[in-house]
Structures are given as C-alpha cells and as structure tokens.
Subunit: 235 residues, 2 copies
C-alpha cells in the first residue's frame, strides 16, 4: 500500500479532527511540532555555516504560523532568520508567535508599499523558507504576494517550501506556471495531491497523527526513524 | 563561566517570564517541547527493542503534563507507554493531554485504593519515566505518592527522572533519603541546585530560552548540537 496524497478537503478534515473535541490538540501544539519539523528539515539540507541567513516568508494563514515557529527554532539553532510577513494573520496566536520571534531579536522586514525592502533582504539571504500559502490556498495570487513571488523566484536562492509550494494549486500542482520552484519540500502530516510530481528532496513532518486517525483515512504513512520529527521520502 | 544551577525560586521566575506577556509562550508550547525532549532522552538511552514498555508516572502539577506529552511521543516512537497518574491535575490542559494519550490507545492504570495495579504494571515494565514532582515540590511526600515511590524504587527498574528526581528537595537533593535514585536525569531549561551531585547520565531539554533571558539570568547554558532538542551534559 502506498502513501496517500491528500485532496485539499481531506487535509482540512484531518486538521479539524486533530483539533476537535476527540482529537483534543490545540493549534499551539500542532504548530509547534510542524514548525520545528520545518526548521529541522532546513537544517538537515542547508547547514548554518554555508547558509546562515534564512528569509522566512509567512502568509496570513496557519502556514504563516508554522513559519514563525520555524523562524524561532532556526534562531535557536544558530541561524539568522529574517521574517517577511507583509500581511500578518489576525489571530491571537500569530501575535504571540511574532512576539516570541521579537524576543529572539529576529528581524522582520518592515511593511512597505514597494518591494525594495524585500529586495534588500533577498540580497543578503542564503536560503528561503516558503511558508506563504498552505493547503487552503485558492488562487489567484493576491497582493502583496503577486509581486513578492516573482522576486523570490528571481533571486535564484534555494527554496524550501512548506506543504505546497506557494502559487501551486493544492491538487493540480503548478498548472498556472506562476508558483515557486522549491528545491526542498516539507509535507505536513501527509503530502498533498499537487506535489505528486515534485522531484526535489521531500520530507515529511508533523509527527502527531494517532494510529487510529491514520487508519481511518488510510494514509499509509511511512515509519519515522527513531525519535526524529522529520522523515525523508525516497522514490 | 560554568552553567548555573537554579534555586526553586529562580526556576519559577524563568517559567513565569517565558509565559508572561513579554515571553508570550503558551503552556501548550512549553510542555510540548519539554515532553518531547523527555521522550527523546529516554529513546536515546533505552532503545525500544530492549525497553519497549515504559511506565510514565505523572504528578498533579505541570511536570505531570510534561509526562503526558512524553508518553504520547513515546507512543509515536513505537514504545508501549502505560500511564500512572493517581492524582490527575485539574487544569484543562491535563484533560486535553490525557485525551491525546487515550486517542493513541495508551493505557492508564485505573485509580485504586491499593497498590496492586501499580505492582502489576511494574512487573511488566522495562523502564520508568518519573514525572511526578517538579521544581515546585515541597515535602513531605503525600498520599498516594508516599506509597508509590517505595514501589518504584523497589522495582529495580531503570528510572529516568524529569527535572528533579521525585522525593528530592529541589535545592538540597535527596537529604531525606526517601527520593528515587534515577539512572538518567532530564533537566528542563537548566539544572536545579538539588541535582549538583547527580552522577548518572544527565540531559538538558527545553530548548526554548531566548538569548536575552539566558543572559538576564546568567544561565551560561551549553550549546545544543545542531537541531537537537536534547543535549547530554558531560563532566
């Protein structure tokens, strides 16, 4: 039995089950483990001596929260993250996650009407963590991300995307051709249909699915090694 | 500069700073990372082939919550944890953490007026995770733990204690001689004064102290390796 690739609807349903009364997880817990996995995957591929400066790009949804958690852990690991979050999420948790980054003295690119601050940050970055759009993304890409994505792509920096590369359709992939082309992907809980043809290094993170839920949704997840929070998928 | 060993008061103060408005951490986040570190330390020392059955002993305070998180992660790692929590904490978070363990089909020893269920569980366990009393412990040891601790000690099973071995004075150590004698210790954030003379394997976990806080309290923490969430201290 091979691992299941999730529709957007199924990914949403699993997320809800984890957090409903039965699943009992708080979003704080799930984001903490998801963001830690993203930071650990980045550290596995891009060592901090050669890639010290990480531009962490956060969207306004839950994936932006994962990005903020990852930024904090990257700071703990000795990287120098910079946050690009042009459209901060309104939920209380984003503000707390952002404060935690501020306490680590992690810089955030100031909001701006033009792209010069982002260009500057890109010129001093070594790698991009793309936590802009997640499995609830529905195109088209709106401002300010419509002007940001081409800059990220144009930078030629290595990109590690969370769950679904930003700009890709969650189920169809990069059909519009406007999405990022990451070198590394971290799929959370299980990969989404849209990344079936992704052929870079592919990690699984979010090691928190109880066996009962895995069986209910027939996810057929591979076994994580030891006590690791990430697992590299091989063809 | 050597690492600081904390008084009970300072440990309490650091915990409060992490969670106050400035620190911005939720208890869910801190417990998740602390419990994960405990589970990973156990997995580092006691492999699941030789030590599959872990008796996770949880007290009624925050350390019991760390224990529940550790039990869940141990279940994810492929161990078979059993929870001994004779006096469950009343906070909402314990109930959620307990539900998460129930969802993993992790067994809990049923409450009982005698110690037979605990004796039975001990006879089929390979290692004990001691998350009974933490840095806010003040003796004497009260029921039902006064009768449980001698049974845990008498089992001769290997014991891994969280933060302060249960029964030890947080600052003075095992002065009463009634405390557990663990083989392994996981100190969270920084070791407490009472474990200065501990000479088993000693890990540090709880990798979430911002540099500013570390400097403010002059903790002089050693550097964690890579993206690991635990660090083994060596003399």
């Amino acid at each position: 039995m091979s691992m299941k690739y999730l529709t957007a609807k199924l990914a949403q349903q699993i997320d809800e089950e984890l957090m409903n009364q039965a699943g009992a997880f708080s979003i704080d817990q799930l984001m903490e483990l998801a963001g830690l996995a993203c930071a650990q995957a980045l550290a596995r591929v891009y060592d901090k001596e050669r890639y010290p400066n990480v531009l962490v790009c956060c969207g306004p949804g839950n994936q932006g929260g994962d990005g903020l958690v990852a930024a904090r852990h990257l700071g703990m690991f000795g990287y120098t993250p910079t946050i690009f979050m042009p459209k901060p999420g309104s939920k209380d948790i984003y503000q707390r996650l952002k404060s935690q980054c501020d306490n680590m003295k992690i810089k955030t690119i100031p909001p701006s009407n033009d792209t010069s601050a982002l260009r500057d940050a890109l010129s001093s970055s070594n790698v991009i963590l793309d936590a802009i759009f997640g499995f609830s993304f529905k195109g088209p890409i709106r401002s300010p991300f419509d002007s940001a994505l081409p800059l990220l792509s144009g930078s030629r920096l290595p990109i590690i995307s969370v769950d679904i590369p930003s700009g890709w359709d969650v189920e169809e992939g990069n059909v519009e051709g406007v999405g990022l082309q990451p070198d590394v992907l971290v799929s959370l809980t299980a990969p989404k249909l849209g990344v079936r043809s992704f052929n870079g290094r592919h990690f699984l993170g979010g090691r928190f699915i109880p066996k009962t839920l895995e069986e209910k949704f027939e996810l057929n997840l591979p076994e994580y090694p030891g006590s690791d929070q990430i697992l590299e998928l091989k063809e």
